[in-house]
C-alpha cells in the first residue's frame, strides 16, 4: 500500500521513485510528492485527526513519510487567535492570527517542515543533515538534529541577526556563515549537495520538506471549525509556504474533510525584496531576480524557487500580492504587539502591514473570515525594532519618588 505513489515533475509530469531527488532530469522542473488520494480519502476522517497527537503529526495521513514520526514530535498545532483588537483597528470583523511564533522547539513555522524533512531523512538512512537558510530554518534544523542525533551543517548569510546566529550555535551544529546573500548561500549549497551524501532539507529533501507547510492550512481549517477562511495573508520568501497553504486547503477538500474552498490567497513581501510582488503588479508570469535590501531578512530571497507558483496561486484564487516598506514593517510589528500581545519577527511585520494595506484597498472586506500567518518570533529579530521603542523608567525604591515621578495622587 502506501500513500505516496512516488515523485512527479510539476512541469512535465515525469514520474520518479520516492527518493531524495528534487529536480526533473528531463525538463529541470521541481519534483513533488504524488499521493494516492483515493486511498487517503478512504482512511482519513475528522475523528481520526481529532484523536491524533496534538501536533502537526495528527495529519500524518497527508504527510510524505512512510512510517511513524520520529523527529519533531511536538511541532505544530499552534494557537489560532481571534484578533478582536487588531481587527477593530483595521476594520475587520473576523480576523484570526495563526500564531507560529510559539512553535516548538525554535519559535517559527520552520519547525513544521523540519519535523517532516528529518523524519523522512531518517527513513532514507542519512546520518548528516544540512540546509541553506535565512535564519529560522537553520535554527530549526540545528535543534532537531541535536535531538535526533544527526550530524549537522547549516549555511547562512553572514549578515544575519545575532539571535539567529546564536540560535544555531547553542545546539552545536557546524555553522557556515557565507559572505553573500541567501541566493549565494543557496547556490553554494546546491553545489555542495552534489558532492556529499547529506540530507539537505531544502535541496534534495525539498519535495518532502516543503509538504510540512501544508499543516498550517490543515490546522487553520480544523481550528476554524472545519471550514476554509475567505482570505489568507501569507509572507513570501521562496514562495513555497503560500503555495503549500493553498495546496493544504485543496487537499482537505479533496479527501472530503471540508467543502466549498474559495479562499483568496494573498502574498506579502518587503519592498526591499519584492520579486514576486513586482511580477504580480506588472502582470508578468516570470520572476526577475533581485538583490535583496530589507530589514525582513527572513524573507530576503532575491531568486525565489517557488515564486512562479506563488504568483500563479494568488492569481488563480483572486488574491493579491503586495509589498511594504521597512518603516511599514516596523509599524506592523508594533501594531501586532500593542493590539494582540504577539511579538512577531520582521516577517510578521510584513504580513500585518500588507494585511492593513489590503483592507485599505478594499481587497479584503470587513466581513471576510481572514487568517494572517505570523511565522516567527520577535525575540529573534530584536535589531529590527531597536531604536523604535520607549525606555524603562528608572527610579529609586521609594514610594514618594514613584508618586512624584508619575504625578499619581494617593488614594
Amino acid at each position: 500500500m502506501g500513500k505516496m505513489k512516488g515523485l512527479k515533475c510539476r512541469e512535465c509530469g515525469k514520474a520518479y521513485p520516492a527518493e531524495p531527488l528534487h529536480v526533473c532530469e528531463f525538463c529541470f522542473g521541481p519534483l513533488e510528492v504524488d499521493y494516492d488520494y483515493e486511498a487517503i480519502a478512504a482512511t482519513i476522517s475528522r475523528d481520526r485527526i481529532v484523536a491524533g497527537p496534538k501536533s502537526l503529526w495528527r495529519y500524518i495521513d497527508l504527510l510524505p513519510v512512510e512510517k511513524e514520526a520520529t523527529v519533531g514530535l511536538h511541532g505544530g498545532f499552534t494557537p489560532m487567535i481571534r484578533a478582536t483588537r487588531l481587527g477593530q483597528t483595521l476594520g475587520l470583523d473576523a480576523l484570526y492570527l495563526k500564531n507560529d511564533t510559539v512553535n516548538h522547539p525554535t519559535l517559527s513555522f520552520k519547525d513544521r517542515v523540519v519535523a517532516v524533512a528529518l523524519t523522512r531523512a531518517r527513513e532514507f538512512g542519512f546520518d548528516t543533515v544540512a540546509c541553506a537558510s535565512t535564519g529560522n530554518l537553520a535554527n530549526s534544523v540545528s535543534a532537531h538534529a541535536a535531538q535526533a542525533g544527526f550530524k549537522c551543517f547549516v549555511f547562512i548569510p553572514s549578515d544575519l541577526e545575532s539571535a539567529k546566529v546564536l540560535g544555531n550555535l547553542i545546539y552545536h551544529p557546524t555553522v557556515v556563515a557565507v559572505e553573500g546573500t541567501y541566493d549565494d548561500v543557496n547556490r553554494l549549497c546546491s553545489e555542495i549537495s552534489g558532492e556529499y551524501r547529506w540530507a539537505f532539507v531544502n535541496i534534495n529533501i525539498r519535495p518532502y520538506y516543503a509538504e510540512g507547510s501544508k499543516t498550517l492550512a490543515y490546522e487553520t481549517a480544523e481550528q476554524l471549525g472545519w471550514r476554509a477562511p475567505d482570505q489568507v495573508v501569507v509572507p513570501i520568501a521562496s514562495g513555497s509556504l503560500l503555495t503549500k497553504i493553498w495546496k493544504g486547503l485543496k487537499e482537505f477538500e479533496r479527501v472530503g474533510l471540508i467543502t466549498g474552498v474559495k479562499t483568496k490567497v494573498n502574498g506579502a513581501q518587503a519592498a526591499g525584496c519584492s520579486p514576486v510582488a513586482t511580477a504580480f503588479a506588472e502582470g508578468r508570469d516570470f520572476i526577475k531576480p533581485v538583490k535583496p535590501k530589507t530589514l525582513a531578512k527572513s524573507l530576503a530571497i532575491g531568486n525565489p524557487a517557488d515564486g512562479f507558483y506563488a504568483l500563479k496561486t494568488a492569481r488563480e484564487t483572486g488574491g493579491v500580492i503586495e509589498m511594504v516598506t521597512d518603516d511599514e514593517i516596523v509599524a506592523g510589528i508594533h501594531l501586532l504587539a500593542q493590539t494582540e500581545g504577539v511579538f512577531a519577527e520582521t516577517a510578521g511585520g510584513v504580513t500585518i502591514a500588507v494585511l492593513k494595506k489590503l483592507v485599505a484597498q478594499g481587497a479584503i472586506a470587513r466581513r471576510d473570515l481572514t487568517v494572517a500567518y505570523i511565522t516567527g518570533h520577535g525575540l529573534k529579530t530584536q535589531e529590527a525594532v531597536a531604536g523604535t521603542l520607549g525606555e524603562a523608567v528608572y527610579i529609586e525604591p521609594s514610594l514618594e519618588k514613584f508618586q512624584r515621578r508619575f504625578r499619581l495622587k494617593e488614594t
Partner: protein, 93 residues
C-alpha cells in the same frame, strides 16, 4: 553569426561532453534549431511542446536573461556569449 554557447552539465551527454560549443544563428530561436541539428534531442530538453523555452530553463545572452530581452526573437551578433542554465541546480546526489 558565430556565437559561443555554454552547455550545462545535465545536457552535456547530448553534446558529447562538450561544455562549450559554437553555433551560427541570427536569433535565440534560430540558435536552438541549429543546436538541435548538431546535437539531436537538445531542443525537447530546452523547449516545451509549444516551442517556448521551458519555465525552469534560463537562457542568457551576454549575462542578460532573454525573458527581459525579446525571448526567442532575441537577436544574436557575432561573438555573443549564450548560456543555458537550469533554474534549479541539480546535484549529482
Amino acid at each position: 553569426m558565430a556565437v559561443i554557447v555554454r552547455i550545462p552539465s545535465p545536457l552535456r551527454k547530448l553534446t558529447g561532453g562538450l561544455g562549450e560549443v559554437e553555433a551560427k544563428a541570427e536569433s535565440i530561436g534560430g540558435l536552438i534549431d541549429a543546436l538541435e541539428a548538431s546535437y539531436p534531442g537538445i531542443k525537447e530538453r530546452v523547449c516545451d511542446e509549444t516551442g517556448a523555452v521551458r519555465r525552469f530553463v534560463n537562457i542568457y545572452v551576454n549575462e542578460e536573461d532573454i525573458r527581459f530581452l525579446t525571448h526567442q526573437d532575441t537577436p544574436l551578433k557575432d561573438g555573443d556569449h549564450v548560456s543555458i542554465v537550469p533554474a534549479i541546480a541539480g546535484g549529482r546526489r
